[in-house]
């Protein structure tokens, strides 16, 4: 009966029921050994909204192109200005609130963006369990397999994977120790450390356990780009993790994601820079890791385990926050929503400035001002828009680093408004309304 069982559990926390090795992709097999973690892992199918996070399950009728019966709410419908910002780019066709890990593979395969333009195989890197497929494609060489997938068209790459992120992507199969499996992340960390004077950094050898509790997430929750010549997936950290470092990297290599269809500017799309942003915040500086908040410990019987139901901490405040912050749940929620509302308010001002600048460049161009004289404004659109997008695309609405988010938005407004001024210096004058 109960107590006896629990004492058993306590003594022998890990019961090896089945053998798992470095080629076992299927989480159900790992789940035989670790049923508690596996049960929670399966729960990432849940959908529940918080003020700015979580996600809402919207029913839809499956069709031939897209068999999904539910999707998340559309962010483009929530704020139509985003379509103006991304005019001419796949994101303007379909962009939704992200949801739990269980959906990552289908959401990628069936997003409207696939219909807008052909997507590259490099996409797969963060939407599936790729560790074993990489090894297989590379004949045992992870990096070689990664290169191969990068070169494929998406639909071909898709055939090589089967599962969303799985146990093997974060864990060593024999020790269950955390480890990273993404070549792009390993390279980027090496470049980052090199910029700080540390040579030949090998993240799997040198990172502490506490660092790994963030690094496993940093494999995917990061800003990235595909190098124009070879579609190579790269995390742009060679000059540092801050937005100005990343922007400097793009300035140096001239990268742009697309040519803005309304203004002709060579624009950039920022994508989920959670890891970069989190690192500028007080929690990272205090040694707190992603897993502390998004996979807090929970007690199950006589054991403490990491909650593998990765989700918004606002759905689990008690475990996620209250061990460190001994204040009532209501108050903690207020703290978060205050930070988020403030960020949203400034994001709104920056978005307003962005669409005004875009309208102005369009009008100025239409009024016959030559391209050479539009260039300074286009340059400021590129920069200001990347800055506001960096906060917009980051998924905590400012919480991960509230001050950094506001700093970035303030700068964004400055660049965008200065862009408008440049056009006036070039002779543009707004028509009377």
């Amino acid at each position: 009966f109960n107590i006896f069982e629990r004492q058993q559990e306590a003594r022998e926390p890990v019961s090896q029921v089945v053998k798992v090795d470095d080629d076992t992709v299927d989480p159900a097999i790992w789940g035989k050994n670790f049923p508690l973690q596996y049960d929670d892992y399966l729960k990432t199918t849940d959908q529940q909204r918080t003020i700015y996070g979580g996600s809402e399950a919207i029913r839809r009728i499956p069709d031939a192109r897209d068999p999904r019966a539910t999707v998340s709410q559309s962010r483009l419908e929530e704020d139509a200005r985003l379509k103006t910002l991304w005019a001419g780019y796949a994101f303007s066709s379909d962009f939704r609130e992200e949801r739990g890990h269980a959906y990552m593979l289908e959401d990628q395969e069936f997003t409207g963006r696939q219909a807008f333009s052909k997507q590259p195989g490099a996409c797969i890197n963060c939407h599936a369990s790729v560790y074993v497929p990489f090894k297989q494609l590379g004949n045992g060489d992870l990096f070689a397999g990664f290169e191969k997938i990068n070169q494929m068209p998406y639909m071909e790459a898709r055939k090589h994977v089967q599962h969303p992120v799985s146990c093997i992507d974060c864990h060593d199969s024999q020790t269950m120790q955390l480890r990273v499996t993404r070549p792009a992340f390993m390279e980027a960390m090496k470049a980052l450390k090199a910029s700080e004077g540390v040579k030949d950094y090998d993240v799997n050898k040198l990172a502490s356990r506490q660092e790994m509790r963030s690094f496993v997430c940093g494999q995917c929750h990061v800003e990235y780009y595909f190098r124009k010549d070879d579609k190579r997936l790269i995390y742009p950290w060679g000059k540092g993790l801050k937005i100005e470092n990343i922007y400097a990297t793009y300035a140096e290599n001239g990268h742009y994601d697309w040519k803005h269809s309304l203004t002709g500017a060579k624009t950039l799309k920022a994508q989920h820079p959670e890891f970069e942003t989190f690192n500028q915040g007080i929690h990272a500086k205090s040694g707190v890791a992603c897993a502390d908040c998004h996979m807090p410990y929970k007690r199950v019987g006589a054991q403490k385990i990491s909650d593998h139901h990765v989700r918004s901490p606002m759905l689990n405040v008690n475990r996620s926050c209250q061990t460190c912050h001994n204040i009532p749940e209501e108050q903690l929620k207020n703290r978060v929503s205050e930070i988020q509302h403030r960020t949203y308010f400034m994001r709104d001002r920056a978005m307003e400035a962005a669409v005004e600048l875009i309208a102005d460049i369009q009008a100025a161009s239409a009024s016959g001002i030559p391209q050479a004289q539009l260039a300074p404004a286009q340059e400021l659109q590129r920069k200001g828009q990347f800055y506001v997008d960096f906060v917009e695309a980051e998924n905590s609405m400012g919480f991960h680093a509230p001050e950094e988010a506001l700093r970035i938005l303030g700068e964004s407004i400055d660049y965008l408004r200065q862009g408008q001024l440049k056009l006036r210096e070039a002779g543009y004058r707004k028509a009377e309304p």
Partner: protein, 152 residues
């Protein structure tokens, strides 16, 4: 599991040195009740008023009935226990007498290490799955900083 931190070896050596230097320390040790360190009575710690805050908040803490000061603050095992007590008894007595210490008091790394070991010592069962052997230990107090006493 409960490996004794290597720094305890230094402690043992130290306590021998103290034995020699006791002449100097005796005054402090006796009159400032530095010997309180040698007992297990929490009241004894509160003999020094700089410890009162810790004592009064320990009385209100979740551990008041299950762990006293020494359960957390001294290593387990007789030699290291008294070595650390001599070390702390001596230095804290000295610091108390001269008033030469930070206020609020800051725990020193070596004593912090002792505390972390104590947590795992009692809670071995429940934390077994999160403290696998051969991996860096996680700091318990990073999350549970106020289990023993919230106030300083």
């Amino acid at each position: 599991m409960r490996r004794i931190p290597s720094s305890f070896m230094a402690l043992v050596v130290f306590s021998v040195v103290v034995g020699v230097a006791i002449g100097l320390g005796a005054y402090t040790f006796i009159y400032a009740k530095g010997y309180s360190y040698l007992t297990n009575d929490p009241q004894a710690c509160a003999n020094c008023h700089v410890m009162e805050g810790h004592f009064t908040s320990w009385v209100k803490s979740s551990h008041r009935n299950v762990a006293s000061c020494n359960d957390c603050h001294t290593p387990h095992g007789l030699v290291p226990k008294y070595a650390s007590k001599a070390y702390n008894g001596f230095f804290h007595g000295l610091a108390f007498t001269t008033g030469n210490h930070p206020n609020p008091i800051r725990i020193k790394p070596i004593n912090h290490e002792i505390v972390e070991h104590s947590c795992v010592g009692c809670h071995q069962a429940i934390v077994a799955s999160i403290t696998p052997p051969h991996q860096d230990p996680l700091s318990c107090t990073r999350c549970h900083s106020d289990v023993g006493h919230a106030l300083r």
